[in-house]
Symmetry: C2
Amino acid sequence: MSKAAASVAPLYLRVKRHILANIGSGKWAPSHRVPSENELVKSFGVSRMTANRALRELSDEGVLVRVAGVGSFVAEPKARAHPLEIRSIADEIRERGAVYRVDVIERERVRAVASLAEDFRVAPRTELFYSSLVHFEDGRPVQLEDRYVLASLAPDYLDVDFTRVTPHDYLIEAAPLQEAEHVLRAVLPDARTARCLAMKRTEPCLLVVRRTWSGNAIASVAKLHHPGSRYELSGRFRP
Amino acid sequence: MSKAAASVAPLYLRVKRHILANIGSGKWAPSHRVPSENELVKSFGVSRMTANRALRELSDEGVLVRVAGVGSFVAEPKARAHPLEIRSIADEIRERGAVYRVDVIERERVRAVASLAEDFRVAPRTELFYSSLVHFEDGRPVQLEDRYVLASLAPDYLDVDFTRVTPHDYLIEAAPLQEAEHVLRAVLPDARTARCLAMKRTEPCLLVVRRTWSGNAIASVAKLHHPGSRYELSGRFRP
DNA sequence: TGACCATGGTTGTCTATACAAGGTAAGCTG
DNA sequence: CAGCTTACCTTGTATAGACAACCATGGTCA
């Protein structure tokens, strides 16, 4: 009834585990040379294709570095970049078990002024859609979302019911997301932001600016203001 | 002299690209069924092992979902979590081509008071090391790093020359990093922080709290204050 | 000595074949 | 009609053999 996975596991997996075990125990340090495919063929009694798959997958996973004509080596640990996940605010709030609500402040069709045109890398007066929402957690405002969207990429944007679908989720459907850029800053809110988030103008805001690409075009630029006293971004990470 | 990669690329890659092109163009939507291995064998004139490698790698990459006995299907796009990389500040500054400098403000051995003990999940009065550094970019302070380290995990911590190795880099070597947690907030600086970062107390700070695990123990808790006017966290992301 | 070349080990790719196991659907049987 | 069986297609794994490209080494030749 036990898993007994070790004895029935596919051969290529057993080879992978053997190598991972030797690395994990410190027996094979970074840059140490691991057995070649032919050596694994002999010691495990498997075919070369099986040994190749084990080593190739470990290479794809970044565990090994392979050099044609030379050998396979334990990769240097990198891991000095720690990803922090930035998620949809509605998901986050609901996942915490809190009540989520959104107010639609504005939604309109606009033409890009100079600064916006620069953000989007388009000509001035290009048609954009603008929406402004406030997201609430248990009745308290936690995010002001000011978003501009390239009209040609999401022609139905102004008809979306944002109380049911967040702009972010809608855009994922409408325009296949290919790249995103985030910039995080701490700022003081302007008068309108402070009013929308029910905060004092001396209280700091966590500002996330998110730009998303679809194909070669910048599909959307969003400015997300969060009251510093009521919102924090957090994430855990395992290398 | 041109790449001519398409004509010399390995067969399994050509098959992968064919499938990715059909997905990228929207011709094959999510949950659409892609050709089976045997169909690819016929249409591309490759062996089944080659078709298998193409489909298997796309499955490993999350592009396809394969079900034994049924077929291979275009995966649903998830990507509503956007990782933001948090990197070592020294690397970041040097990579921008700016001059990096660090001042060591304090370094000492301390005993955990109640709140610190709670952060570390250890008993009060457990021995910790404390260091306080200010990181400069082109002569302007951009980060105040207040760090506590579990003494038993890094006994040499106080002897490290922080002008040559950042605490973060040293800890990676000393205690294998297994997990990290980040919390980002916007706050107003206290008097000491404002003084160290040469900023006004009314100016907001971007605060990153980083906790790192090594094994089951919390190895380090770092509070990183950045002046809102001079520092921003940014990152790009391709799904 | 220095430049060239042959050799053998290594990774990278590809084929043809085989068996096993999961799943579906048609057809048979009671 | 319900339930079972069977055939077929699918993915998953594994093998033996083959050729190409890469690289270090050592030997040969000028």
